[in-house]
């Protein structure tokens, strides 16, 4: 059997997902045997993109022209492009500076802002090219990645299931922190996949796997209203919490919220 030719590119991110990709590529020696890791600058001395790829993992969000060119090139060379992690899927935490006027933002960090090559807003990979699969998570779960890789290696496909984090709490038999303890928890609107880590540590879900794919801005609003009515958390705080990891999922809506808050 031909080996699967793999590429990995990191864009604007913290590299946490890179560690998980390394884990997924190397944790199972049998699977590793069936892969040819052809481009992965964090791991190999290979410096440029060459040839065609079966699977390309792209981690991080997009903030300048170079990155747009890079991912367009990757798209042309690859059979499957997989967005890995919340940055790549939904823009990640850095998208909180979106639409704030990048020149203004630069001034807050750099004495010479004109030297910084960041042109505009923050984009998820899915906003720039067509992706075949997007696996969110901050960080992505390495075992989830490993399962996807195994499926592709045997010529199968990933079946994407849309369910809330709540389902994982139920399966684990965890007491609901939201209902029982009135702790703010984003579980009901957040995509499952992490194994309910935060609730199992007695705290509410922070939403780092991003909003459930089928959740609309109306439903986010309803959820925030309910938390406020129940006296658990102020609506504006809930929304500010939700957008930390899912900004690019509902850009138009969150932009409006931030404007209203006037900051």
């Amino acid at each position: 059997m031909n080996k699967l030719r793999i590429g990995v590119e990191k864009l604007t991110s913290c590299s946490g997902c890179i560690n998980e990709i390394i884990y997924a590529l190397l944790a199972d020696p049998k699977l590793t045997e069936s892969l040819e890791i052809a481009y992965f600058p964090e791991l190999l001395d290979k410096k440029s993109l060459e040839g065609q790829f079966d699977i390309f993992f792209v981690e991080g969000s997009i903030v300048n022209k170079d990155q747009i060119e890079t991912v367009e090139d990757i798209r042309e060379r690859s059979r499957l492009v997989i967005a890995v992690g919340t940055c790549s899927t939904y823009g990640g935490i850095q998208s909180l500076r979106d639409k704030k006027g990048v020149e203004e933002v630069k001034k807050h960090v750099y004495p010479k802002p004109e030297l910084i090559d960041v042109e505009g807003d923050v984009y998820s990979l899915q906003e720039v090219i067509k992706t075949d699969l997007a696996i969110p998570g901050c960080p992505v779960d390495g075992n989830l990645l490993l399962r996807v890789l195994r499926k592709i290696a045997i010529g199968s496909k990933d079946i994407s299931i849309t369910e809330s984090l709540c389902a994982e709490c139920k399966r684990k038999g965890l007491e609901c922190v939201l209902v029982k303890k009135k702790i703010p928890c984003l579980g009901p609107i957040t995509a499952a996949g992490c194994g309910a880590i935060c609730p199992s540590f007695g705290r509410g879900c922070i939403g780092c796997f991003g909003l459930r794919k089928d959740i609309s801005s109306k439903e986010i609003e309803n959820f925030a209203n309910r938390l406020e009515e129940a006296g658990i958390m102020k609506k504006s705080d809930v929304l500010s919490f939700v957008m930390r990891f899912s900004y690019a999922k509902e850009k138009g809506y969150f932009e409006k919220i931030v404007e209203e808050r006037g900051r």
Partner: protein, 424 residues
């Protein structure tokens, strides 16, 4: 006069950077470390958010050393607002922090740096030739992964640190499940350290004049402290920004730092080793001495020695924590936010990580300043690269560019740069 340049992407480091070599007519004139990765402006994002949210947001600066960011932010507010952290919770937090050091050192030594010591281009090649080493690396890697998961919830961006302590003390039985493998991990750490100590023989031995800066702790090998040690004196973390000078150059998205007198300084394992050698365990010191290593280390290529020694030291410390672990009930925490300026510093795997926050009357962050270790080491990376080339007698023309670039990359890797951190 002809000036030519050559650029090449840095590989086997975290993040996106380039090395640029600038050649004069005959010789190389300058080495530049280009930090091309796009910044995320996290300090801007923190504005208007509550201090209680900050550790979580800060942790997203780095996937490799997220705990360092969480602890630096949490301790800044705790110390400044007089929030007491119960002893047991602090021990757990330190154990999570130590696990992160172990994880980071494993990743760096085994996956990024080992190929340089053995003269190959990737760890995959090393492992193919040395299946035993591969097995050891994987076992060790998996143990650190498991430790982070049990103590912190997952391998990075862990969920168990907050201002005031932790969210939960894991069950004793879960923590004890790490104990069985802890002995093996210590053996692996010792073997790996010995392997490194033996093979560093192959690395250059010239002596360098090196100014080191590190946190100091009177009892332990330092990870969290208020005191910074530099040039034979100590100062409080709140005075850090007065001790250093920031600069911005056109080719780097990371700010860079020197001391206020314009001296180049180094942070990281080599600095910790040199200032806190005597706080290492007897066992580790003995191993080091048997290979002829003692402080101060005076060549940047010995960073890997310090890293291997730390891997050994931290494995021992984590094993101690596991064996004596006793969970207590975590009390609910009400944090009273007070306006003010708050400073925090930790020894992240790559060196001093400094945080400063200004909290306003509304109880939200108005200004944040974060100085990661990699930003502080950037100037030394360039300077030491030139020193290295000069010591090797490898200064000659553009036709040598590949060889020169290879050597420069080796020097840079000794700092284990975390480029994403530097452009937070």
């Amino acid at each position: 006069m002809s000036v030519t340049t050559y650029e090449t992407r840095l590989t086997r480091v975290e993040g996106e950077g380039l090395v640029k070599l600038i050649f004069g007519e005959r010789n190389i004139e300058r080495v530049e470390v280009h930090i091309v990765e796009a910044p995320r402006f996290v300090e801007y994002i923190m504005r208007g958010r509550k201090p209680t949210e900050i550790p979580e947001i800060a942790s997203r600066i780095c996937g490799i050393c997220s705990v360092s960011y969480q602890v630096a932010a949490a301790t800044a507010f705790e110390r400044g607002m007089n929030i007491e952290v119960p002893y047991e919770e602090e021990s757990l937090r330190n154990a999570i922090f130590i696990s992160e050091h172990i994880k980071s050192n494993i990743l760096h030594v085994l996956y990024l740096q080992l190929p340089d010591i053995l003269g190959v281009s990737s760890s995959l090649e090393v492992f193919k030739k040395n299946p035993d080493l591969h097995k050891m690396a994987m076992d060790f890697f998996m143990w650190s992964r498991k430790a982070m998961k049990i103590l912190g919830g997952r391998y990075h961006n862990i969920v168990n640190i907050r201002i005031g302590g932790v969210y939960k003390m894991p069950e004793r039985s879960d923590v004890m499940s790490l104990s069985v493998e802890a002995e093996k991990a210590i053996t692996n750490a010792r073997k790996l350290a010995e392997f490194v100590f033996e093979n560093v023989e192959k690395l250059p031995k010239y002596k360098q004049d090196m100014k080191t800066m590190a946190l100091c702790d009177s009892i332990n090998y330092p990870i969290v402290s208020r005191e910074i040690c530099f040039d034979g004196r100590k100062f409080d973390v709140s005075g850090f920004e007065e001790e250093i000078k920031e600069e911005q150059v056109p080719y780097s998205n990371s700010l860079r730092y020197k001391t206020k007198l314009g001296e180049i300084y180094v942070v990281g394992p080599i600095s910790r080793f040199s200032t806190s050698f005597f706080n290492l365990s007897e066992e580790v010191r003995r191993a080091l001495r048997s290979f002829g290593y003692a402080p101060p280390l005076r060549n940047i290529h010995c960073s890997v020695v310090a890293r291997a020694a730390e891997l050994y030291e931290f494995s021992l410390r984590l094993a101690d924590f596991i064996d004596s672990y006793r969970p207590v009930q975590v009390e609910a925490k009400e944090v009273q936010i007070a306006p003010g300026i708050y400073w925090g510093a930790v020894e992240a795997p790559r060196g001093i990580l400094y945080h400063r926050y200004k909290v306003n009357e509304k109880g939200v962050v108005e200004e944040a300043n974060i100085i990661p270790p990699t930003s502080q080491n950037l100037i030394a990376m360039e300077d030491f690269s030139m020193q290295h080339l000069s010591n090797l007698g490898l200064l000659g023309g553009e036709n040598m560019k590949d060889e020169i670039a290879r050597e420069v990359e080796k020097v840079i890797r000794q700092f284990d740069p975390c480029i994403s951190c530097s452009v937070h």
